[in-house]
């Protein structure tokens, strides 16, 4: 059935339909929020905004479209919540501007209303971003302009279809949406309003099952292309030991890990294999042990891309280098500088058990004692594990210049024992920051990065 004009009664019914369809899909719209802040409860905010407008304009339903929309826009503004609510209210304010003085609306009027609504919406936002509700509004309005129809049902049908398509395109325009794999929440809410209006115009139920289903399709998760095949500028390869280190190195951004176990040093081949698995122009490699540097170098010579070896001599140095790494730097030299300057500031402390009696650097060691080493120099021995850590730090000549101590506890150390140690150390060295991190390494009870 062709409809060539709308009176304010019908318009009011359609607006109510828009509200009901939005309400029906409210939580689905909320779920599209990229950030979990109430500022971004888009669905709820738009429902409040539109609900206020529908209620406010109720008594004007017989007063003609111009008068009805004027009240409607005022109601929308007064109940506007959040960004999407404010933008929605301005869209209808544009409607009201363009409908001023009109009793009824034809298809050409509707197209003008949308154009005016888009202009108002854009001007309400200081830095309009594409890929948002604004884009969905604009695309729909432009579609309305080009489709010279006199039938309002056809116009609404075409416009709503364009909105669905535009909504699907939002992740291509706004990277944050693509990253989260969603379409824009404000745009989705706006589509609901038009789906509902459209349904009423066609004599359908605006909160029927089919609209919920259709909306689900429109707002379905967006599958993003696999970027893994793209070659990166920089890649990072590191040797590590222990599940804790494995976890942290991965989190910091190491692309390929080479696992080293005591007595099983990584081969040149394992380095080459790791290098090959990373698709980057330039690789930074952290051997994290003086004995692995040579293998890393050999592997680099066998490899046809640029490889830079950061000669880290312990996991503590490796962790420190990685923590200060910034792969967004312009040149590889800058990346290397950042890491080397971090490493130059690290003293590596190690606590492990002596495997034989000895006397070294004035320290008497009995088999089974816990011994403390700083940068491979034996500083202390103690029958108690935690006491060995304390005396290691106390005997470090430059401890007064150090500020941050990260203690990686090994596979055999329990958390209670760490808690006690942390308390003792904080009391003894009140100026310093102590952090305890599970390294999960074998053999060394504690690996300590002192910076």
């Amino acid at each position: 059935m062709e409809i060539v004009s709308l009176n304010s009664n019908k318009l009011a019914e359609m607006m109510l339909g828009g509200y009901r369809c939005l309400k029906l899909n409210e939580s689905k719209v909320d779920d599209l929020n990229v950030f979990p802040v109430p500022d971004g409860d888009t669905g709820a905010n738009m429902v409040k905004t539109l609900g206020g407008a529908v209620n406010e304009a109720l008594e004007c339903a017989n007063d003609g479209c111009g008068a009805y929309l004027k009240r409607f826009a005022r109601g929308a503004l007064m109940s506007a919540r959040g960004n999407s609510g404010v933008i929605l209210s301005q869209f209808f304010r544009g409607f009201a501007d363009a409908a001023a003085g009109k009793q009824e609306l034809c298809a050409a009027d509707m197209s003008e209303l949308m154009k005016s609504g888009v202009a108002r919406s854009y001007s309400a936002v200081i830095n309009p971003a594409e890929g948002t509700i604004l884009t969905v509004m604009k695309d729909a309005s432009e579609k309305a302009k080009t489709c010279a129809k006199t039938d309002l049902t056809a116009l609404f049908g075409t416009v709503t279809e364009e909105m669905r398509a535009s909504l699907r395109r939002t992740p291509d325009l706004l990277p944050v949406l693509k990253e989260a794999g969603v379409v824009d929440s404000g745009g989705a809410g706006f589509l609901c309003v038009f789906e509902g209006m459209c349904a009423v115009l066609n004599g359908e139920n605006p909160d029927g099952e089919h609209l919920a289903k259709r909306f689900e399709d429109s707002a379905a998760p967006v599958v993003t292309g696999d970027d893994a095949a793209e070659r990166k500028k920089y890649g990072v390869v590191a040797v590590c030991a222990g599940d804790g280190f494995e976890h942290y190195f991965g989190e910091i951004g190491v692309d390929a890990l080479i696992l080293a176990r005591p007595g099983d040093p990584p081969s040149t081949e394992s380095f080459v294999r790791a290098f090959s698995s990373v698709n980057a122009d330039c690789l930074f490699v952290l051997p994290n042990d003086p004995n692995f540097i040579l293998s890393a170098r050999q592997a680099a010579q066998l490899f046809d891309r640029r490889v830079e070896i950061i000669e880290t001599k312990s996991l503590a140095e490796g962790y420190s280098a990685l923590s200060m790494m910034d792969l967004n730097r312009e040149t590889p030299e800058q990346v290397i500088d950042d890491m080397l300057s971090a490493v130059s500031n690290v003293i590596t402390g190690l606590v492990t058990r002596a495997v034989r009696d000895t006397r070294l650097g004035g320290v008497d060691v009995k088999t089974g004692d816990y011994i403390g080493l700083a940068d491979h120099t034996l500083l202390c021995a103690d029958i108690d594990m935690n006491s060995a850590v304390v005396s290691l730090l106390q005997k470090l000549p430059c401890i007064a210049d150090k500020e941050v101590v990260t203690v990686f506890y090994g596979a055999e150390v329990d958390e209670d024992s760490c808690g006690e140690l942390e308390q003792t150390l904080s009391k003894l060295f009140p100026r310093m920051e102590f952090g305890f991190v599970r390294g999960g390494q074998e053999l060394y009870h504690y690996i300590i990065s002192i910076e």
């Binding site: 404010v86 951004g253 792969l327």
Partner: protein, 296 residues
């Protein structure tokens, strides 16, 4: 001609004593704890700073709500109906949608109050940076400047307010979607302190990272020396998220390198606090114009 009113919002972080001294009012945002919305009072009416930041220390998620349209309408109307113009200095539009909303409301009030105007200024900063702009506006008002002149001055000078701050963890800012930083800044790395500035677009931008809280303070004090203009004639502002000792240490480091006229220290209010997290310290001073634009 009646003197114009100066308003900030809940991110301006000026406590009552300062608002009373400079005759500055504010419009309230809201925060939500356990599903209950509270007014974001700069006088901590609902929770003390300790209670508030302990929620966060205990892992409770606090979210924020921008200024409602009716709140703006009501508060602006109070002054307009008394025949006064309003200069509203808003939280950076890169951090809150409030500024956008305020412009729409100000526009809509023109019809009812044709003789007076609300000038909405996007401060492009928050916390005491925003607050210090309001204090500067108050002294212009004392000199007899009009609302229009003051608003124009604010827009011309807002980027001269330089922010240097550091947070305990960037995760709060990230969860709130209120920081621009490359991946190099994320990952929970013990001892790594990001230095966060407010960039030319009004975004929080992580510019560099350093090792250790003391090193971070010294580094920021050094940065201040490089950009500050006429420190002997200006107040240094420091705000903190419930860590007085760290703020005092920060102050001492800055004063050791810079000769400020005086220092004003205060708590980071609930809205900025909910985004930055406990332990955050931020300094603000006037210096060379900020031109950096951050990219993620």
């Amino acid at each position: 001609m009646k003197k114009f009113a100066i308003l900030i919002d809940s991110t301006g972080d000026l406590p009552r004593e300062m608002r009373e001294r400079y005759l500055i009012d504010y419009v309230a945002m809201g925060y939500v704890v356990d599903g209950i919305e509270y007014q974001a009072s700069l006088d901590w009416r609902s929770h003390t700073p300790r209670e508030f930041y302990n929620f966060m220390r205990d892992g409770k998620r606090i979210t924020t709500v921008q200024v409602h349209v009716d709140t703006y309408t009501e508060r602006f109307s109070e002054y307009l109906s008394a025949g006064r113009d309003v200069v509203y200095i808003a939280c950076s539009s890169a951090l809150s949608g409030s500024y956008n909303t305020s412009r729409v409301v100000a526009e809509s009030l023109k019809e009812t109050y044709p003789d007076n105007t609300v000038y909405c200024v996007d401060s492009l900063i928050s916390s005491l940076g925003q607050g210090s702009l309001a204090i500067a506006a108050a002294s212009m008002r004392d000199e007899g400047k009009s609302a229009a002149e003051t608003a124009e001055w604010l827009v011309a000078n807002r980027l001269k307010v330089n922010q240097f701050g550091t947070v305990e963890s960037l995760e709060y800012l990230r969860a709130a979607g209120r920081v621009t930083a490359t991946s190099a800044f994320f990952g929970n790395l013990f001892g790594v302190k990001p230095i966060v500035i407010s960039d030319a677009l009004g975004q929080n931008f992580a510019v560099k990272k350093v090792k250790g809280a003391l090193t971070a303070k010294k580094d920021m004090a050094q940065s201040i020396s490089e950009i500050v203009e006429n420190p002997e004639q200006q107040t240094l502002y420091i705000s903190h998220a419930d860590d007085v000792a760290a703020a005092e240490q920060f102050r001492d480091e800055i004063l050791a390198a810079n000769n400020f006229k005086d220092v004003y220290m205060s708590y980071i209010g609930p809205i900025v606090g909910a985004s930055v997290g406990p332990g955050t310290i931020i300094s603000f001073c006037v210096g060379s114009e900020v031109t950096v634009e951050g990219h993620a």
